[in-house]
């Protein structure tokens, strides 16, 4: 597959850019932040995203989705990144839909159409360690009645406060860091023993701590096979990581454009600061870095669509590179804006905050460098 967008994908890009630019611009992110919105996104925007087919981008047509693939999902996430648009796209349309494709026919028939309609929100409750470590699951699932009893705590659940269903990773056997013995469960957040505490995060997104205290789940709520949740979790995480790379690519692009525009306006010493070579070279270097992140991200999304064996390696490449570039682009953005970049009134700081959160989510550049080295046998 050539490493470019197809004509259809170019059309999706144009419509996604237009949509988020008008429906969920940075000003909306600011308003949600100012209002300390409990879920951290606008439900009307989510409903319109469903009408556009965005929420069903990874849902098969048989279940009412648009089934446009990972490249398209990435294009939508990139457009959201450009505008810092907040919506449960990652948690529900990417992570949720990918997880449920591994469900029973009954589970798929129940949830996938609702995802495509934008009528049901999911949240992945997997990570427990503050630094991403997918196999580190101490939450237990012990046999009880015709199902299991869950106990444990999940510290960083994206859209956890808004979710209608949680996808919980718990241990049915093995030790805390074993990849074997992890099982995924579909859990109703309103069930007895589930406690959801919204956390106020630096990027103002809706994140929650989920505590599970003797939560009874039915055997029919197991997603995939008992003890074999890790393989599904890796696929779910990889889809999420590639889409986060796309989001970071989008926010890097806007931070970069804002910065170059500022260099062309701001005058000091009697001239535009963009005429100073010290700044020109940093901007030109940043341009190259964003281009590299773009190539790596597109390759990862294409590899996921192709079901390539090398997809995990390319996903880590994209997450590592796009993460590093997002940090660079936003750090340079704030620095080159000077004092105004430090003010809350100016938007560039929002990009820096979101870059940091997206970089930490599902493994930062260091995590993914290590994963690539392991994949390549060193």
């Amino acid at each position: 597959m050539p490493l470019i967008l197809t004509d259809d994908q170019l059309m999706i890009r144009d419509s996604a850019d237009g949509f988020f630019n008008s429906e969920a611009p940075v000003a909306q992110h600011r308003a949600l932040r100012d209002a300390a919105d409990p879920v951290g996104f606008n439900r009307d925007v989510w409903a319109k995203m469903a009408e556009m087919g965005f929420t069903g981008v990874l849902v098969p047509e048989a279940h009412g989705g648009a089934d446009m693939g990972h490249v398209a999902a990435g294009i939508i996430m990139e457009a959201m990144g450009k505008n810092l648009s907040a919506a449960p796209m990652l948690s529900t349309a990417v992570l949720g839909a990918t997880a449920l494709k591994h469900g029973t026919p009954e589970q798929q028939a129940k949830y996938l159409p609702l995802i495509a309609q934008g009528a049901h929100l999911l949240a992945l409750a997997a990570d427990e360690a503050a630094r991403h470590k997918p196999a580190h699951i101490a939450t237990t699932a012990t046999p009880s009645g015709n199902g299991f009893k869950l106990n444990g705590s999940k510290g960083f659940v994206l859209d956890g406060a808004a979710a209608d269903t949680l996808i919980v990773a718990a241990r049915t056997s093995g030790d805390t860091n074993d990849s074997a013995g992890i099982t995924l469960f579909l859990v109703n957040p309103k069930a007895d023993g589930v406690k959801i505490d919204r956390r106020s995060m630096v990027d103002s997104r809706g994140t929650a701590r989920v505590t599970l205290n003797d939560v009874q789940v039915d055997g029919a709520d197991v997603l995939g096979s008992v003890g074999e949740g890790h393989a599904i979790l890796e696929k779910v995480l990889d889809a999420g990581r590639a889409c986060l790379a796309a989001e970071m690519l989008g926010l890097s692009g806007t931070a970069f454009t804002m910065t170059v525009d500022y260099l062309k306006q701001r005058e000091q010493f009697g001239q535009k600061i963009g005429s100073f070579q010290a700044l020109q070279h940093r901007a030109a270097h940043l341009f190259c870095e964003v281009e590299l992140a773009r190539s790596a991200t597109l390759k990862a999304l294409q590899a996921l669509d192709e079901g390539s064996d090398r997809a995990p390696m390319y996903v880590s490449l994209a997450k590592a590179k796009a993460g590093e570039v997002a940090i660079l682009a936003t750090n340079e953005g704030v620095q080159m804006h000077g004092g105004i970049g430090m003010t809350d009134e100016y938007d560039i700081g929002f990009f820096m905050k979101r870059a940091r959160a997206a970089q930490e989510t599902f493994g930062d550049a260091a995590f993914h460098s290590d994963r690539i080295a392991r994949t390549l046998g060193y």
């Binding site: 490493l3 005429s275 020109q280 341009f287 690539i372 046998g377 060193y378």
Partner: protein, 395 residues
């Protein structure tokens, strides 16, 4: 069977029959590379035959038009040829500044007589070219060049000196930037001349580099007579040709390695062999982090080359990217050579030794430092990106 499949079958059969056995072995040293030319010393009969056979088919320059000695192949056919050559590990039959640099400019700016005279000889490796661009006083500020070409009616009289003329002492002809109008603004007084290095008044003197080798020369012109018909393009419009040619040079340097061609082993594979693993992890964990970071950038860069080519082909091209590829590619290659030196440790510092190949790594490392200087420094590439891509104001 599609036309392309048929072409592949024919090509495969022809290569099997015509590529000599010793031309399928890896390139071991500089003298395995064939540069052609009037005084070419072939290292083996196989090398001579390989050039002769490929040159006769025009496959040294597969995509050039057949009327000018090229293969006349489509882009897709040329790719098939490259794949089939790679399959049998065939060496490139000819390394040539004529092919990489002058040829594309001749095709675009040369007149019919010039194309007919020079292109077939380049394709067959009969004439070896060198590049007369930089001068002792004109490096990054190339347009300030001062080598003069005075219009004497039927000829130009060339006086001055060029520096960093690669292999000038072995070249047959030179393509040379000269100042034909000293009164015009610096970019507008430059012309593009082609002339024979055997002309009276041309002399060369090799320059020894920090790597110990001397592929470069300083070249002197003392009242060299150059026929007027050797002017390429229009007098005073040479800068446009110079820039066009530099784009090709940048692509060549950005995508190249200084280790002598062929398939490069990855840094991590070399590290695995020389350092070894400990519980499936490279035994030197600090170096492992540096290597992984480098390989991420190297992978993302090669994907970017792939994407830029695909975009250009489909017309989605963003343009002006050759500076980016030159800048990033050369910086990465320098980093690669430094990592290889680190991996080798004190053994990499060997200069002359008992073993054949001692000093090769150190020489390659030292040579790689020039990658971000030649063909426009990294800083000049960043200037170009700032100006042409980002549209930042001039200082």
């Amino acid at each position: 069977m599609s036309d392309l499949d048929a072409f592949r079958a024919e090509t495969r059969a022809w290569l099997e029959a015509n590529c000599p056995a010793d031309m399928r072995e890896p390139i071991r040293g500089d003298d395995d590379v064939c540069w052609g030319g009037r005084n070419c010393q072939f290292k083996s009969e196989g090398q001579r035959l390989w050039l002769e056979r490929m040159g006769a088919k025009g496959w040294t320059v597969p995509e050039w038009p057949a009327e000018y000695g090229g293969g006349g192949l489509s882009r897709a056919e040329a790719r098939v040829l490259a794949e089939e050559m790679k399959r049998i590990k065939a060496r490139s039959p000819l390394s040539s500044f004529g092919i990489w640099m002058l040829g594309p400019a001749l095709l675009k700016y040369g007149n019919e007589a010039q194309k007919k005279e020079h292109l077939p000889r380049i394709a067959r490796g009969e004439i070896r070219w060198c590049q007369g661009y930089s001068e002792p006083g004109a490096g990054s500020d190339l347009a300030s060049l001062r080598t003069s070409a005075e219009d004497m009616g039927d000829h130009y009289l060339v006086n001055g000196s060029k520096v960093w003329t690669s292999y000038a002492d072995k070249a047959d002809w030179i393509f040379c930037l000269v100042r034909t109008d000293p009164a015009a603004p610096k970019h507008l007084g430059i012309s593009f001349l082609l002339f024979d290095m055997a002309s009276p008044g041309v002399s060369t003197s090799p320059i020894k580099l920090i790597s110990g080798s001397s592929p470069f020369c300083q070249t002197f012109f003392d009242n060299v007579k150059v026929p007027k018909e050797n002017l390429m393009g229009t007098a005073g419009k040479g800068w446009e040709i110079a820039k066009y040619l530099l784009t090709h040079e940048r692509d060549m340097i950005g995508g190249s390695d200084s280790t002598g061609g062929g398939q490069r082993d990855s840094v991590s594979n070399i590290a695995k062999r020389l350092i070894g693993l400990d519980a499936a992890i490279l035994a030197d964990t600090a170096l492992r982090t540096d290597i992984a970071r480098h390989e991420i950038n190297a992978l993302a860069f090669s994907l970017t080359m792939e994407r830029v080519m695909a975009e250009t082909k489909s017309g989605q091209g963003t343009g002006a990217l050759s500076s980016m590829l030159k800048y990033y590619g050369t910086e990465l290659n320098k980093e690669r050579m430094q990592l290889l030196m680190s991996i080798r440790g004190s053994d990499g510092l060997t200069w002359e030794g008992e073993e054949k190949g001692d000093g090769d790594l150190a020489r390659s490392w030292l040579r790689s430092r020039a990658n971000s200087i030649e063909g426009g420094t990294s800083e000049v590439q960043l200037n170009i990106i700032a100006k042409r891509v980002l549209d930042l104001p001039g200082a």
